[in-house]
C-alpha cells in the first residue's frame, strides 16, 4: 500500500511534465508528437492501475507533503474508489482522444499546441480527483478553467471559438471563485482543509449556521462547471472547439468535475432538505429543459451538447436525492455517460470531418456511405436513449426506479412524471441522431463526398462502443466492482450493487415504455414541432450574457476612468483622501492606551531649529512658484533635518542626510537649468482650497499619529535589544547601525544597492532615449539666452580650491569608510562623500573635462559594487553558512596596532562602490543633456581669459 501511494503525486505530475514535450516533438512529425503525448498518459494510467488492486480491496491510498502547513495547505493526495473511477476515465478517455485527435486535426492546425493544452488540462483534472486537500483541489480546479479556456479557444481564428472560450472561462471562473469562499467556510467549520478530516465531520458541518452559505457557494462552483441550469448556456457555445476537445471536456472530464465534487462532498453535504431541494430540483429542471432543446438543434454538436447538459442534470438529480441507492446509480451513469457520449462526439466529428457539415438538415442517408460510423453511432445513440441491452438502459431504468419512489412537489408521482418526460425527450433526440443523419435516402448534395475514415479515427469510438455493449450485457462483470468501490467512497458505507436487466413490471418499466414510445412519436412529429419551436420566442442566453458582460465592463470602465483619468493630481488626491480616511477609521475603531512616556524638555537650540524648519516649510509652500527659491528653502529644511538627527543621537543619519542633501540639490539645480524658472499660477482658488484642505487634514493626522506614538512605549519588546546585544559578539562592530546594515539586515542592504544601481541605469537609459528623440534635437538648438550668465564659467578660485580639496575629501571618505564598523560612518556615507569630491571637480571644470580624465565607467563601478557584495555573500556558502553570514577576526602587524578584519567590510566596499557609481551616473546623465545643449569642453582647467571682457574665452575642443 505504501509503495503504491507514492505513485499518486507522480500520476498527478506526469501530464504536466509531459506537456513540455509535444511543442518540441512536433518538429519530428505528427506521429512522434502524438506518441510523446500518449506516453505520459499511458505511464500515468499504468501507475494508476498498479494502485487499483489496493483500492479495490477497499483501501484508501494517501500521500502527503506539508507545503504551507500554517495555512492548512498541504500537498495531500488520496485515492479511493471515486478517485480511481474518475482518474481512470480521465486518463483512459484521454488516451483515446489523443489517438483520435491525431487523425482529426488537419495539417494546418498547430498540433504541438493542442497536445500541450490537452495534457495541461488532463493534469489539472487528475489533480482534482486525486487531491485530499481542498485548497489543493481548488488550485487544480482553477487550472482546469484556465486550460479548458485554451482548449476551447484553440481555433483562434474563429470568433465563435474565442467567444465560447471567454464565456466558459467567465462562467466557470466565477463559479470557481464562489466555490473558494464555500470551501474556506467548510474548512473553517471542520477545522481542517484535508478531505479525509472533513468527510468525518458530517454532524458538525450540517449543524453549523454556516452550512447553508457554504453549501450554496460550493454548489455554485459545481453547477457552473457541470453546466446546470441556469448556468448551462456556456456549454453549447464551447462546442466551437475542435471535436476532440468537446468529446474530452464534455463526456469524461471538465463538466464531470462538478459532479465529482458533489459526489466527493456527498457524505457531509447531502441528506439535508436544503441539499435535496437545491440539487435535485436543479438537476431535474436541467435534465428536462436541456433534453427538450436538444431535440430542436440542427447542429450535431449542439444536439450532443444539450444532451450532455441533460444527462449531467440527470446525474445531479440522482446525487441530490440523497439516498445511497441513488448515489450508486449516479456513479453508474457517470461511467455509462462517459462511454457513449465520448463515442457520439467522436462520430459527430467524423461526420463533420468527412461530410464537411454537421448540420442535420443537410445530412441523411449516410448509412450506406459510412457503415462503420453508422454502426458505432447507432449503438452509442441507442445507449443514450436507454434502449436495452446497452449500458445506458441499465442506469436509466435504475434512475427511473429511484425517482418513482421520491416525493418532490405536488402529487407523489410528480417527480416520476417529469423525469419520464425528460427520458422521452432523450429518446427522441437520440433517435433523431440516428434517423436524420444516417437513415433516410442518400442525398446528392453533401458538401463533400462522405466515406468512412481510416482505422485510426474510428478505433477510439469503436473501442468505447465495445464497452457500451459489454457493460450493457454483463454489467456486474465489467462495471460492478468499480461501481461498488466508487459508490462506497461516495456514501462512505458498503453499498449493495445489483445491476440486472429485468426488474419485473415495476413503475420504472412502464415509465421506460412510455418514454420510448413517446420519443418515437415525437420524432414522427418533428417537422411540425420544429416549426412551432422556431415560431415561439425564447430567451437567448448569449444575448443576456453579452448584455451582462457589457454592463459589467461599462461599470468597471466608468469606475477606473473616474478614478484614473490620466490626471496625476486627481490620483494623488484620491490616494491621500483614502489613506487619511483609512487612518481615521482605524483611529475611531480602536481605543488608545494612556501615554506612558515623559516628554523631553525643550531647549533653546532645538526650538530655534524647529522654528526655522517651520518657517522654511511655510515659505517653501508659499513661494514655490519661484523655483530657485524653493530649492534654497528645501536645502534649509534638509540641513535642519540633518541637525535634528545629530541632536537626537543619530550621527550616522545626520552624515547621510547632509551628503544626500548636497547631491540632491546639485541634481535639481542641473535639472532646473532646462526647466522653466517659474511655476505659473493656473489652478483655481477652489482647487487650491481643496488641496490645502487635504494637506492640512493629512498633516494633522500624521502629526497626531507621530505624537501618539512618541508618547507611548513599545507594545512589545523591540528586537533592537537583540541587535545591541549581538552587534559586537556576532558582527564584530560597535557601531550597531552599521552592523545592522552590513550584517544583521545585510540582505536588505544588498537589495537596496541593487535598486539604487537599477535606478541609476534607468536614469541613464531615460536620458539616452530623450536625447535621441525630439528632446535631443530641441536641446541642440537650445540657447541659454534668457538669463545673464557669469563671464567666468569656471572661476579660478573654485578650480584651485576643489583641486586642493579633492585628496582631502577622498581621505575623509576613506576614513569614514574604514571606521564605519565601529564609529559613525560606513559604505553609504563614504560613497556619498567620495561622490561629492568628484562632483566638485565636475562643477569646477565642467563635466566633460572631468570625465575625460576618468578611467573607470560608472556602469562598471555599479556592477563591480554589486558583484563584490554578491561574492561576499556567496563566500558564506563556502563556509557552509547561509548567504551573507559574516565573519570577523583580528590581525596583528607588529609595528601597527591590532587590526580588525570582517567580511562585512568587503560587503561594505560593494555598497560603497555602488553608491559612488549610482550617484555619479545619475548626475553624469543629466550633464550629458548640458553637453547636447552646446556646452563646450574646456581645454585648460580654467577657461577664463582675462583678455576677453565680453565673453568667456572658450576654445573649441
Amino acid at each position: 500500500m505504501d509503495n503504491a501511494a507514492g505513485f499518486l503525486p507522480i500520476i498527478a505530475a506526469l501530464p504536466f511534465l509531459g506537456a513540455l514535450f509535444p511543442g518540441l516533438m512536433i518538429q519530428a512529425g505528427r506521429n512522434t508528437c502524438a506518441a510523446f503525448t500518449a506516453a505520459p498518459t499511458i505511464l500515468a494510467l499504468t501507475l494508476l492501475l498498479l494502485c487499483a488492486p489496493a483500492v479495490m480491496r477497499g483501501e484508501v491510498l494517501t500521500f502527503g507533503i506539508d507545503w504551507l502547513p500554517s495555512l492548512g495547505l498541504n500537498v495531500n493526495f488520496m485515492l479511493d474508489g471515486l478517485g480511481l473511477l474518475f482518474a481512470g476515465m480521465i486518463l483512459g478517455i484521454g488516451l483515446l482522444i489523443i489517438l483520435y485527435a491525431r487523425f482529426y486535426l488537419s495539417r494546418e492546425d498547430p498540433m504541438g499546441q493542442f497536445y500541450t493544452y490537452l495534457l495541461l488540462f488532463q493534469g489539472a483534472m487528475v489533480g482534482i480527483v486525486l487531491s485530499d486537500n481542498i485548497l489543493l483541489l481548488l488550485i487544480f480546479w482553477e487550472l482546469t478553467s484556465l486550460s479548458s479556456f485554451l482548449l476551447i479557444g484553440y481555433w483562434k481564428h474563429l470568433p465563435e471559438g474565442r467567444q465560447g472560450a471567454r464565456m466558459a472561462l467567465t462562467v466557470t471562473g466565477l463559479g470557481g471563485l464562489a466555490m473558494i469562499a464555500g470551501m474556506l467556510i467548510l474548512g473553517n467549520i471542520a477545522g481542517s482543509y484535508d478531505l479525509s478530516v472533513i468527510l468525518t465531520q458530517k454532524d458538525a458541518i450540517q449543524a453549523s449556521p454556516l452550512y447553508l452559505p457554504a453549501l450554496i457557494l460550493i454548489l455554485l462552483g459545481c453547477f457552473t462547471k457541470s453546466a446546470q441550469f441556469p448556468f448551462h448556456f456556456w456549454l453549447p457555445h464551447a462546442m466551437a472547439a475542435p471535436t476532440p476537445v468537446s468529446a474530452y471536456l464534455h463526456s469524461a472530464t471538465m463538466v464531470k468535475a462538478g459532479l465529482f465534487l458533489m459526489a466527493r462532498m456527498w457524505p457531509v453535504l447531502a441528506g439535508t432538505p436544503e441539499w435535496f431541494w437545491i440539487v435535485a430540483s436543479t438537476g431535474l429542471i436541467t435534465m428536462v429543459m436541456a433534453a427538450k432543446i436538444a431535440l430542436f438543434k440542427d447542429d450535431l454538436k449542439a444536439l450532443l451538447a444539450f444532451s450532455t447538459v441533460s444527462h449531467l442534470g440527470l446525474i445531479t438529480m440522482l446525487l441530490g436525492l440523497g439516498t445511497k441507492a441513488a448515489a450508486m446509480v449516479a456513479v453508474f451513469h457517470i461511467i455509462n455517460h462517459a462511454t457513449f457520449k465520448a463515442a457520439l462526439f467522436m462520430t459527430a466529428g467524423i461526420v463533420d470531418h468527412e461530410a464537411h457539415t454537421r448540420d442535420i438538415k443537410r445530412l441523411g442517408g449516410l448509412r450506406h456511405l459510412m457503415p462503420i460510423t453508422f454502426t458505432i453511432a447507432t449503438i452509442a445513440a441507442l445507449s443514450m436513449a436507454g434502449i436495452p441491452p446497452f449500458n445506458g438502459f441499465l442506469s436509466k431504468e435504475m434512475m427511473l426506479e429511484e425517482v418513482a419512489h421520491t416525493h418532490w412537489i405536488g402529487p407523489a408521482w410528480m417527480m416520476g412524471a417529469v423525469a419520464t418526460l425528460g427520458a422521452l425527450f432523450s429518446v427522441a433526440y437520440s433517435f433523431r441522431y440516428i434517423a436524420h443523419v444516417f437513415l433516410g435516402p442518400k442525398r446528392s448534395d453533401y458538401p463533400a463526398k462522405p466515406h468512412d475514415p481510416g482505422f485510426g479515427m474510428w478505433a477510439a469510438p469503436a473501442f468505447l462502443t465495445v464497452l457500451v455493449i459489454l457493460i450493457g450485457l454483463m454489467p456486474m462483470t465489467f462495471a460492478g466492482e468499480l461501481v461498488r468501490v466508487a459508490a462506497q467512497a461516495v456514501t462512505q458505507s458498503e453499498p449493495t450493487v445489483k445491476i440486472y436487466h429485468w426488474h419485473g413490471l415495476v413503475p420504472a418499466f412502464w415509465m421506460s415504455v412510455i418514454a420510448v414510445i413517446g420519443g418515437a412519436v415525437l420524432l414522427r412529429l418533428h417537422a411540425p414541432l420544429m416549426r412551432l419551436w422556431n415560431a415561439t420566442p425564447r430567451p437567448e442566453a448569449k444575448v443576456m450574457f453579452d448584455a451582462v458582460t457589457r454592463a459589467a465592463t461599462a461599470l468597471s470602465t466608468a469606475l477606473t476612468d473616474g478614478v484614473h483619468n490620466g490626471a496625476l493630481t486627481r490620483n494623488g488626491a484620491i490616494f491621500a483622501v483614502v489613506v487619511i480616511a483609512a487612518g481615521v477609521l482605524g483611529y475611531l475603531g480602536g481605543g488608545m492606551a494612556a501615554p506612558t512616556r515623559e516628554m523631553l524638555p525643550v531647549t533653546l537650540v532645538p526650538a530655534i531649529g524647529w522654528l526655522l524648519l517651520m518657517l522654511a516649510t511655510i515659505c517653501l509652500v508659499a513661494f514655490h512658484r519661484n523655483r530657485f527659491l524653493a530649492l534654497v528653502l528645501m536645502g534649509i529644511v534638509g540641513l535642519i533635518v540633518s541637525m535634528g538627527f545629530v541632536y537626537l543621537s543619530a550621527p550616522d543619519l545626520a552624515l547621510t542626510q547632509i551628503s544626500v542633501e548636497v547631491v540632491t540639490i546639485i541634481l535639481l539645480l542641473l535639472a532646473l537649468n532646462f526647466l522653466p524658472r517659474e511655476t505659473p499660477a493656473e489652478s483655481s482658488v477652489a482647487r487650491r482650497m481643496r488641496d490645502a484642505g487635504i494637506a492640512v487634514v493629512g498633516g494633522i493626522a500624521v502629526a497626531g499619529l507621530t505624537y501618539a506614538i512618541l508618547l507611548r512605549d513599545f507594545a512589545a519588546e523591540s528586537i533592537s535589544v537583540f541587535h545591541l546585544a549581538n552587534s559586537y559578539k556576532g558582527g564584530g562592530g560597535t557601531n550597531v547601525v552599521n552592523v545592522i546594515l552590513v550584517d544583521f539586515r545585510g540582505f536588505d542592504t544588498y537589495g537596496e544597492i541593487i535598486v539604487l544601481g537599477i535606478a541609476a541605469l534607468v536614469i541613464f537609459a531615460l536620458t539616452e532615449t530623450v536625447l535621441k528623440g525630439p528632446g535631443g534635437r530641441w536641446l541642440s538648438q537650445w540657447k541659454a539666452d534668457r538669463y545673464p550668465e557669469a563671464g567666468d564659467r569656471h572661476p579660478l578660485m573654485m578650480v584651485v580650491a576643489t583641486r586642493v580639496m579633492m585628496p582631502i575629501a577622498l581621505m575623509v571618505g576613506a576614513y569614514i569608510f574604514l571606521r564605519g564598523h565601529n564609529q559613525p560612518g560606513g559604505g553609504f556615507i563614504a560613497g556619498l562623500i567620495v561622490a561629492i569630491a568628484f562632483l566638485m571637480q565636475y562643477m569646477a571644470s565642467g563635466f566633460a573635462w572631468a570625465e575625460s580624465r576618468q578611467r573607470v565607467t560608472y556602469h562598471a563601478t555599479i556592477g563591480v559594487g554589486v558583484l563584490i557584495a554578491s561574492v561576499t555573500g556567496i563566500g558564506a556558502w563556502l563556509a557552509g553558512r547561509p548567504f551573507l553570514t559574516s565573519d570577523y577576526g583580528y590581525l596583528h602587524f607588529p609595528p601597527i596596532e591590532e587590526f580588525e578584519w570582517a567580511t562585512a567590510m568587503a560587503f561594505d566596499t560593494g555598497v560603497f562602490l555602488t553608491v559612488v557609481g549610482a550617484v555619479m551616473l545619475a548626475l553624469n546623465s543629466l550633464s550629458s543633456m548640458a553637453r547636447r545643449a552646446g556646452e563646450t569642453v574646456n581645454v585648460t582647467p580654467m577657461d577664463i581669459n582675462p583678455a576677453l571682457s565680453d565673453a568667456p574665452g572658450e576654445k573649441e575642443a
Binding site: P159, Q163, T557, D561, G566, L568, T569, A573, M599, P601, V602, W610, L613, M614, T617, I618, V621, H624, M634, V637, Y647, S649, A650, D652, L653, Q657, T664, P676, S683, I694, A695, G698, G699, I700, V702, A703, T706, Y707, I709, D713, F714, S718, I719, S720, H723, N735, I740, R745, V755, L756, A759, T769, P774, G775, N822, P824, V915, A918, L926, M929
Partner: protein
Amino acid sequence: MELLFASAIGLLTAGGLYLVLRLRSFPVIIGISLLSYAVNLFLFGTGRLVVDLPPILQKGVEAYTDPLPQALVLTAIVISFGMTAVVVIMALGSFLSSRDDTVNIGPETPPEQPAQENEA
C-alpha cells in the same frame, strides 16, 4: 520636544501633500522630497526620541539609542535620493520631449474596442 517633532512632521507632510497635488512637475518633485523628509523622520521617531545617548557600544554603558530605525532610515534616505533622481529625469525628459511640464495627461478617449465580436 515630542510636540515639536510631531508638529514638524505634520507640517512637512502638509506642505508635501499640497505641493504633490500641483499641476507642474517641479513642485511635485519638491513635494515628494518634503514627504520623504516627513516619512524618514516618522520612521526614525518610531524608535522614540532620546537625547545624549550613545549610538556606539561602549563598556559600562547600558542605555543606547534604538539602532534599528536608524539603520532602516539610513537606507531609506539613500533610496529616496535614487527615486528623486529618477523622477527628476522623467520630468526633465518629458519637458524636453514635449515642451510641457504639466503632470496631467487629462482624460483620453478610450482605446479602440477590439473587433466587435459580440455581434458574430
